[in-house]
């Protein structure tokens, strides 16, 4: 139980990552794969953000306490937050590029189901051989 209390946040992050990874492996629909990739990455962000927490800490923005002095802390660690801002931006960029390619695939092949696309490609290869 004590291990659960101290590590539950990490485990939930891992659980969410794995849900995303399962979606990437199991789903044949490309849009679903893209969504699952996003979920996988949010799991990682959750892990980093959990890393930043300090017991009794507060939001990493300096502020004045009642006495008019700078609140001495502890503040949560801003470094992982900053890294995750960058990573979120990267992940939305990857998502946008993925969606752009998927839309192109729909126009070129008429489907976005991975197995149907593979069938079409196999047929095309067989057709050009004959």
């Amino acid at each position: 139980m004590s291990l659960f209390a101290t590590h539950a946040n990490y485990w939930f992050a891992i659980l969410i990552m794995m849900i995303g990874l399962y979606g990437i492996i199991a789903k044949r629909n490309l849009i679903k794969q893209a969504i699952a990739l996003g979920i996988f990455q949010t799991g990682i962000f959750l892990f980093y953000v959990s890393m930043a927490v300090i017991n009794g800490g507060t939001v990493p923005v300096w502020f004045l306490d009642e006495a008019g002095k700078k609140y001495a802390g502890p503040y949560d660690n801003p470094l992982p937050h900053c890294l995750m801002l960058t990573a979120i931006v990267v992940s939305v960029s990857v998502f946008a590029v993925a969606i752009a390619i998927i839309v192109n695939i729909k126009h070129a092949y008429g489907t976005i189901e991975e197995d149907e696309i593979l069938n079409l490609e196999a047929e095309a290869a067989a057709g050009s051989e004959a």
Partner: protein, 149 residues
């Protein structure tokens, strides 16, 4: 959706505050949560809202697509330019201190503000571009004429 009176009125009321809020978030990013990226998205949402209600063609009349691409490029150039400026003055890349060489520690906030605006410009225009592009009809769709290009 041009006939939806309620939507149009509400949008008209909402868009100016959203724009102001976006600028506030970018500028105030050093003092409170927020920054160039978040502010840029808020700004973009105002334009996307306008385009959703009045159609993309209306948006293109005021802000053609190439303008968005240019703004996005300029935003990234501002960031890289601030870095290069310090490099040209003889310092390290991205050393904001060189913006006010007589008092380097005062140059830092200047650099941060400039950089945040660069990020904001790029993010805002790229988000509008993304919306614009994903709403683009297919290349071989015969039912659409070429007005949107």
């Amino acid at each position: 959706m041009k006939e939806q009176l309620v939507l149009r009125v509400v949008a008209k009321c909402l868009i100016p505050p959203i724009l102001i809020f976006g600028c506030y978030i970018i500028t105030h990013g050093e003092l409170s949560p927020g920054g160039g990226f978040q502010g840029g998205i808020v700004l973009a949402s105002a334009f996307i809202l306008h385009a959703l209600i009045h159609g993309r063609a209306t948006l293109h009349q005021a802000f053609p697509r190439n303008l968005w691409a240019t703004i996005a490029t300029i935003g990234a150039l501002i960031f890289a330019g601030v870095g290069t400026y310090s490099l040209l003055r003889g310092g390290q890349f991205l050393d904001y201190g060189w913006i006010v060489p007589s008092h380097p520690a005062k140059g830092e906030p200047w650099g941060m503000t400039l950089v945040e605006y660069g990020v904001g410009l790029t993010v805002c225009s790229v988000m509008v571009l993304i919306y614009d592009m994903i709403s683009e009809p297919a290349e071989d769709d015969p039912t659409v004429d070429e007005d949107s290009a």
